[in-house]
Each structure stands twice: as structure tokens, then as C-alpha cells.
């Protein structure tokens, strides 16, 4: 049962759980802010997934900050770089989303998606 309690398993469950939770919030919450939070949660889930792709058991961060560190004992640096980028992008989008939503709130006086349906059909 090597797989059951491995870190990869935990990360897998974590990412799938976060993605699904985030999407569930997006689908069911009518408050726009909450929807954005849902998207953030889902994005976090994807970031966890990204990290898990580079995870190698027992290995540490890929930084040659002291002597004797071996390449074979480090985790893959690429996913970490990807995660950094993905986090920053996610942050940018969320901040933008909140700004837009605030402005939309000014115009409509509500954050309820079932009331913000000026555009349909």
C-alpha cells in the first residue's frame, strides 16, 4: 500500500478536492465575490496539481545553497516555476475581477448573479 498514504496521493486528493470545491462554489453561489473566491480555490487546486507533478519523494527544494546537495535529491524545478507564474496570474485576475465587480456593484447595486441578468437571450 505504498500508494495509499504517499504525498502524491495527498496532493492528488488535495488538488481534486480544491478544484471541485472551487467549481462547486462557482456553480452554486450567487454572490459574485464568492464566485471569484471559488475560482481562486479551484486555481489553488490546479497549483497543487502542478506542484505534485514535480514532486519526488524525499527530495528538497532545488537550490544549491550549500555544499553536497545532489541533483538527484532535488525536486523538479520546472513545476515550481510554473506554479509561481500561475499564482501571480491568478492573483492578477482575482484583483481585476474584484475591481470589476465593485464597479458593477456601483452600477447595479447588487452582487447577486440572479439579479445581474441585464444581458441574456
Amino acid at each position: 500500500m505504498n500508494g495509499v498514504l504517499s504525498i502524491s496521493t495527498v496532493l492528488n486528493f488535495g488538488s481534486a478536492g480544491l478544484i471541485v470545491l472551487g467549481l462547486y462554489i462557482v456553480f452554486t453561489q450567487k454572490n459574485l465575490i464568492k464566485m471569484v473566491i471559488g475560482i481562486d480555490i479551484a486555481e489553488t487546486g490546479v497549483n497543487v496539481l502542478l506542484v505534485s507533478t514535480g514532486y519526488i519523494k524525499g527530495n528538497t527544494a532545488p537550490i544549491f545553497s550549500k555544499a553536497g546537495l545532489q541533483v538527484s535529491s532535488m525536486v523538479d524545478p520546472v513545476p515550481q516555476a510554473l506554479v509561481l507564474t500561475s499564482i501571480v496570474i491568478g492573483f492578477g485576475v482575482s484583483a481585476l475581477a474584484l475591481a470589476m465587480i465593485i464597479k458593477l456593484y456601483e452600477k447595479t447595486g447588487t452582487l447577486d448573479t440572479s439579479k445581474i441578468r441585464g444581458l441574456k437571450w
Binding site: N2, G3, V4, S6, I7, S8, T9, N12, F13, A16, V20, L23, Y24, F27, T28, G54, Y55, I56, K57, N59, A61, P62, I63, F64, S65, V71, S72, S73, M74, D76, P77, V78, P79, Q80, A81, L82, L84, T85, V88, I89, F91, G92, V93, A95, L96, A99, M100, I102, K103, E106
Partner: protein
């Protein structure tokens, strides 16, 4: 109803995700798995002179992503300034100032700024880099802006900084393009002594630029949010 449907759909999502990707219960992979990243790991120190392999990936191997990422932040800041345009009228409710926060931030801000610079300058040595450094600097601005009504925030300066930093990033890339390497973002500086501040060629420079850009970007975001009602 919506909840039930969502639940069922997401259950299906997880089901397929799990069954098609070979299950969620998987063992940790061992190091023998080959990937581009592991290739990079074995050569980045020599190629880039950066102790932090993540940094060499972020700034060089995938430096183009980082340029894009900076652009995304720039875009977000721009977008926020578009939507948070000052409506002209002053805010109705002026918050009375918190002495503790105001004085505290005045005390801390220079230190945070310095810390941000430290993080930026050591990005190739530690997990930091331009982003966290820039974020810390911006955070300083953030708090200052929050605590003082009449801070002399120079919007033009910020926009100039944003532009300048972005241009410098591209400029650094173009120098590589025009140089012997004939490649955008090609390192054109000597690699220096490994694991010291002055090493890793253009990496610290790019990180500095990124730091300034992120700092300026976030600061103008905060400013825009504060200016709107």
C-alpha cells in the same frame, strides 16, 4: 436543484478524473523519471550560475513566461485603474486615522522596502526573487496608503516606473538578441562566482526589474482602489 446538478456533475468530474488518470491513490514517483526539469537541474548551475534552480528556470529557461507574467500584472493594474477611475467626488466618509497603524507603518515601511530589495537581490540564491520582493515593497506602499490621507503618491511616477521596468525587461532581452547569442533574453553578462550576490549574469538584473515592476504595479493597484469611492 442547481446544487444537486452541480454536485452530480462534479462527482462525474472527479470520477473520470480519477479513473482516467489512473486513480488518485498513487505512489510517489522516484527520481528516475525523466523530464525536462531534471535535465535542467543537472545543467542549470553551470549554464546560468544561479544557485537557485527555480530562479534559473523562472528567469532564464522560462524567462519568457516571466515576462508574460509581469505583463499580466501590468494588465491587471491597468484594468483596475480603468475600472477604479476616480469619480471626481471626494470620498464621503473619511476614516479617522489609527495612530498605531499610521506610526507603525511609517516605522516599518523603510525596513520593508529594504527587505524587499534584499529579497530581490538574493533571488538567484534563495526562493525569493522579483515577485516576493516586489510584493513586499508594494505591501509597504499599501500600508502607507491605507494609513495616511494625504500621502503624496505620485501617480505619474508609478506609471513611469511600470513602463520603465517593463521596457528594461524587454531591453535586457533585446541586448541578448543583438549580442552574439542572438537570442532574446540571452545572458550577456559573466556568470560570476557561484552562490554569491554578484553571480548568475542578468538574472539579478531581471529580478530587479521585475521587482520594481511588481512593486509599482501593485502600488498603483492599491492607489486606484483607494481613489475610487
Amino acid at each position: 436543484m442547481r446544487k444537486v446538478i452541480s454536485f452530480l456533475l462534479l462527482a462525474g468530474f472527479v470520477f473520470y478524473f480519477a479513473t482516467l488518470t489512473g486513480g488518485l491513490l498513487i505512489p510517489d514517483s522516484s527520481a528516475d523519471r525523466s523530464s525536462v526539469g531534471l535535465d535542467i537541474l543537472s545543467r542549470s548551475a553551470d549554464e546560468t550560475g544561479s544557485a537557485n534552480a527555480v530562479t534559473s528556470v523562472v528567469v532564464l529557461y522560462r524567462g519568457f513566461d516571466t515576462l508574460g507574467e509581469v505583463t499580466v500584472l501590468f494588465l491587471a493594474a491597468l484594468g483596475i485603474s480603468v475600472f477604479m477611475k476616480s469619480t471626481g467626488e471626494k470620498r464621503k466618509k473619511v476614516l479617522d486615522q489609527s495612530f498605531i497603524l499610521k506610526t507603525g507603518s511609517r516605522l516599518l515601511f523603510p525596513l520593508m522596502f529594504l527587505f524587499g530589495m534584499y529579497i530581490i537581490a538574493h533571488g538567484h540564491l534563495s526562493p525569493g526573487g522579483g515577485f516576493p520582493g516586489g510584493v513586499i515593497i508594494a505591501t509597504g506602499f499599501f500600508v502607507i496608503l491605507l494609513t495616511s490621507e494625504s500621502v503624496n503618491f505620485n501617480k505619474t511616477l508609478m506609471s513611469v516606473l511600470e513602463g520603465l521596468a517593463g521596457l528594461s525587461f524587454i531591453g535586457l532581452g533585446v541586448v541578448g538578441l543583438l549580442g552574439p547569442g542572438n537570442s532574446f533574453l540571452q545572458n550577456f553578462l559573466p556568470l560570476g562566482t557561484f552562490n554569491t550576490v554578484f553571480s548568475a549574469g542578468i538574472i539579478p538584473l531581471i529580478y530587479a526589474v521585475v521587482g520594481i515592476k511588481v512593486g509599482a504595479e501593485l502600488s498603483s493597484v492599491v492607489y486606484a482602489m483607494k481613489e475610487s469611492k
